[in-house]
Amino acid sequence: MTTGTVPYIPAVEVEERETYLNVSGKIRSWLLTRDHKRIALLYLISITFFFFIGGAAATLMRLELMTPARDLVRPETYNRLFTIHGVVMVWFFLIPAVPTTIGNFVIPLMIGARDLAFPRLNLASWYLFVFGGCFTVAAIVLGGVDTGWTFYTPYSSVYSNTNVVLTIVGIFITGFSSIFTGINFIVTIHTMRAPGMYWRRLPLFCWSLYATSCILVLATPVLAMTVTLLAIERIFHVPIFDPNRGGDPLLFQHLFWFYSHPAVYVMIVPGFAVVSEVVACFSRKRVFGYWFVAGSSIAVAFISFLVWGHHLFVAGMSMYGGIVFSFLSFTVAVPSAIKVFNWTATMYNGSVSLKTPMLYALGFIGLFTMGGLTGVFLATLAVDVHLTDTYFIVAHFHYIMVGGMVTAFLAGIHFWFPKATGKMYPEWAGRIAAGLIFFGFNLTFFPQFILGYLGMPRRYAGYPEEFHLLNVMSSAGASILALGYVMPLVYLIWSIKYGKDAGPNPWKAMGMEWTVPSPPPKENFTKIPVVTQEAYAYHMMTPQGGDGPILPPAPPGERVEGGKPVDVEWSKQ
């Protein structure tokens, strides 16, 4: 039915068929697996664990902020809470979330490969991730760390007496996990594409993940070395950033944000990836402006390296530096806007179905638009002076990270859940959870924009009386949000056992991952398929399509382009 290579397997036979899940049930076979799909699930379990650690810290913080007084926890505990929340959420949830789970699972399927280019490296990445996570968890258990996730010197290198070094070791190791994942994806997308899968036919998901991987590979080493310098200064008492001995604390901030600003795009660009797929599928449309969406991912990745200085506008950086970085920061808004417009335009004249993944994706577009536009406030120099280090910042980046990234992650999880497990979840539950999350999120974070403009500083355990009402609203929203996040955990686990069979292509989606049975067999494709059409050829679906869209089989002359035979190796590059 599809490329003429993958046999059509009716849903009835799914139980007896050998899949990547039931090929061996031993724990050992999971822990030593080199199958990208299994590794994706290992990652999924680990990041879910970390998500709930970070979420628990957030819950305690919002409880503390219910009242102006510092009454629930002591300030030092509060400082540890927001540091744990930041460290865990950034490095152990947001950055790995989409690439290592969804990306790991679907990239080889999408490009028609049997696995990633370096399967052992992929498993090693997961072990490094877990190993780094152990250090960070140890740092938390042994008393926590109170520097904030940004580790500004000289507080972190000289003054703090908490487990800074232990946390840094964890981040360093996890950084290498990110680098290896990035290398794996880049090389895979370059060399492992099936015949006919030219760059112009590459699904936008892969384009975005490619951009993400470039950032991971080029930015993460900077973080690794910067935190190493911090640890060296802390352990050996040698001067590096210490202002008392000629060091410059701003150097740390430059180096840190050279990594951490692009890292923000590591968190959001994979969100773009998921949303492009979901919007196209549930509008049954080719993504509007394919090249612009693909190119804007690359552009965002590149520009993200030029804008880090906007974190230093009031830090004591040169005024001229501030103006340069402000200009560069404005330019990053253009590719982001292109994406939002194109997703919206994709729905035009489509066949829009508001299934759970689509609800999340549309929520993403709205919330990301707000997060992005408030980012423009912060790129505007004079306004940034007022807004930076207030709750406006907190609200802004949660609109990007939580409203954007986590929503997109959930869209992706719901979209590919049937593919990974072969089961469907109850649609009504998915929609209720999506609604709860959207409502809870806005109630939590919208008041924080106002709080920020009023001047409430971030990282405060207590606050003046006049900020009380808005904080109560925010905390109330957080409890709804928490409920919204627990729901998918419950019904998705329930569905693995009791869900209805999904069949290979429940959404009637295009894309090669939908041409293999669900769950896919261990080797993905018995024979490597030949790709003969663009990624989003929804208009070519047959109207009576029984179980899914039909991809025309590859004509033998397909490898001939413009009269010249295409060299297979070059076409892959």
């Binding site: 202002p243 604390p249 049954r284 404005f330 508001l354 007022h386 930076t388 009386e465």
Partner: protein, 344 residues
């Protein structure tokens, strides 16, 4: 709960730049609101208008148009550049203190603000200023990075250890305003708060008169100057400090520096190998011997030893002796200098 205060959307506009920042922010708000609503309305409209009516519906193919992409990119870019230029222009205003501003020194430490007026009044976690006068804060930190944030004035500036950073404002409304440390600085960061009290000019004079000042900063600095025996060298073996502030100084290595607060501070803590051309390097370092507050007293004293004449020519061509061989300032000037600059 005072609900009138709970439903504010804007903080007080209590400084000369606050209104201008708010205007810019409101424009940003309306443009953002327009685009957010545009996207939301389009999404909802498309979701309803083009909803899937049958399971096997195949919508017609839509071609994408490059001209659309380029034109909306260009439109967005132009709008963004307007805000960039506006923001940058205002930023220069917010950053650059006027020359006539009265100067107040601030030292941040975990977890308090120490404020010192030129007349000698010292305050903890409070800052009294007169309304309508430009105030320049010269700030440093004793330990970690802090931030002197004044939301009602729409300004903030990180306070770094090891160097002076500055921030300025002209308060426009008498009243009490929040002062927050806005850069995370450790355990009691959230308690490193205070207030700025803006007073009518005569109230401010009364406050100055009513508080019992310690010796003025200049006097305190003069005392330190003699305690540490600075005058034994400066004037004969070392360059005189009279008229130093604000002047370019010719160094031994051919370089030229302008003697501002940071330069004076560095010269006390890191006495250069050859500070000034034609003088031997004999000054010891005072690092560790002087607190940040004593340092600012000394800086204030040295600044008081004659304001700089406007520099019309680089000193490179002028013999150092012509600039520096003046009688040593052994005695502090008897009067407290009136803060420079007039009222606005």
């Amino acid at each position: 709960m005072d609900f009138s205060k709970q439903f504010r959307l804007f903080p007080e506009e209590a400084s000369s730049v606050a209104g201008r920042v708010d205007t810019l922010a409101i424009w940003l708000f309306w443009v953002s609101a327009f685009f957010t609503l545009l996207i939301c309305v389009l999404i909802v409209w498309f979701a309803i208008r083009y909803r899937r009516r049958t399971e096997n519906e195949i919508p017609p193919e839509t071609k994408s148009h490059e001209w659309m992409e380029w034109s909306w990119s260009a439109a967005i870019f132009v709008i963004l550049m307007v805000f960039f230029a506006w923001g940058a222009k205002l930023y220069v205003v917010v950053k650059k203190p006027p020359t006539h501003a009265m100067e107040i020194y601030v030292v941040g430490k975990q977890w308090m603000w120490k404020v010192q007026h030129p007349e000698g009044q010292r305050e903890i976690d409070e800052l009294h200023v007169p309304v309508g006068r430009a105030v320049k804060l010269i700030m440093t930190s004793e330990d970690v990075i802090h931030d002197f944030g004044l939301p009602d004035f729409r300004i903030k500036q990180d306070v770094l250890p090891g160097s002076y950073s500055t921030e300025w404002f002209t308060a426009t409304k008498p009243g009490e305003y929040h002062l927050f440390c806005q850069e995370y600085c450790g355990t009691l960061h959230s308690e490193m708060t205070g207030k700025v009290v803006v007073m009518l000019p005569h109230d401010y004079e009364a406050w100055l008169a009513g508080t019992v000042p310690d010796v003025s900063m200049v006097q305190a600095g003069a005392k330190l100057f003699s305690t540490y025996g600075c005058a034994q060298c400066h004037g004969q073996l070392a360059p005189t400090l009279a008229g130093l502030y604000g002047r370019p100084v010719q160094l031994d290595n051919g370089k030229t520096v302008v003697a501002d607060e940071n330069y004076i501070r560095e010269s006390i803590l890191n006495p250069p190998a050859k500070l000034v051309a034609n003088y031997p390097a004999r000054m010891p370092s005072f690092r560790g011997q002087l607190s940040e507050e004593q340092l600012i007293d000394l800086v204030a004293y040295i600044k008081s030893l004659g304001a700089a004449a406007p520099v019309t020519q680089p000193v490179n061509g002028v013999a150092p002796d012509a600039i520096f061989n003046q009688p040593p300032a052994r005695e502090p000037p008897p009067i407290v200098p009136v803060p420079k600059g007039g009222r606005r």
